[in-house]
Symmetry: C2
Subunit: 141 residues, 2 copies
DNA sequence: CTAAGTGTACTATGAATGTTAGTACAGTTA
DNA sequence: TAACTGTACTAACATTCATAGTACACTTAG
């Protein structure tokens, strides 16, 4: 499962939460699928049932899973979660753009750098990516 | 000075470090300018000299300030720091793009959203922003 | 019904971290 | 010399994370 990384300084329960969130968001875990029981997962991760319980409580609080007492924890549908996650990502990116501006990192520079990274990494991101607020502008400004 | 926020859960020393890093990167604090003494800053922030000392030690470790015993702490030049920070920001943005892809957030969608944010916020970011890996593509999309 | 599995709620303990407090010492400078 | 600087300790306290153990309620397969 590889749910946790002991070289990671973050608390175990937090890593469990994040990993399940990702799996749910990616659709690897589907709606109404049963989560591992707190006890079995604790054994698998060589950790404590209380730690897993803490993670599950947090996942439930955030709306990613639901609980049926005596039966187990189950995955919720992920549609609204995905929208929230998209918003988080957009906000984070915009915040980074602003941070860059703050230290005198011009937008042109940023975009050039990102373009370079894409060229290095790609295939997956593929072609024709444009953040053009306006391609054909002599305009607005 | 507003260096720390007691509603922030992060350690005080960490907030001090981050705030001075920003001030140095932004050029608000200039090279060879003297930092507040550990004792005076501790009083100003209603905290302990040891906490400030811990922050200053970290800032020195990261190359943002230098120390002259008996005289004080002073700001280092920020040119190489800025380059490092730029790299950090680019890496963070690219990572977010990948994270978005992971949950099926298409590049087009992301860029549209960011465009919208820019339109809302702007003035400063202004015009003609293009991340076009390829402008003139009739292709793919 | 019983047994074995689920979640949940406690208490107690230990380790690590962040913070405060106090003391002491060394270097610099007016 | 006096008043600043940084630095290095030790001690104590609170909080957080994790472990351990126990107990109880619910569900389901037998």
């Amino acid at each position: 499962m590889n749910l946790i990384d002991y070289h990671d300084s973050r608390p175990i329960y937090e890593q469990i939460v994040e990993n399940f969130k990702l799996q749910i968001l990616k659709g690897i875990l589907r709606a109404d699928e049963q989560m591992p029981s707190v006890r079995s997962l604790a054994i698998e991760l060589s950790t404590n049932p209380n730690t897993v319980q803490k993670a599950y409580a947090e996942l439930e609080r955030q709306g990613y899973i639901y609980t049926i007492k005596g039966r187990g924890n189950f995955v919720k549908g992920n549609t609204s979660m995905i929208d929230n996650k998209k918003r988080e990502i957009i906000d984070a990116i915009v915040e980074l753009f602003r941070e860059a501006e703050d230290i005198g990192f011009s937008l042109e520079e940023i975009l050039d750098e990102i373009k370079n990274e894409f060229k290095k990494l790609d295939k997956s991101i593929g072609a024709g990516v444009s953040l053009g607020v306006d391609e054909n502008r002599g305009g607005k400004a």
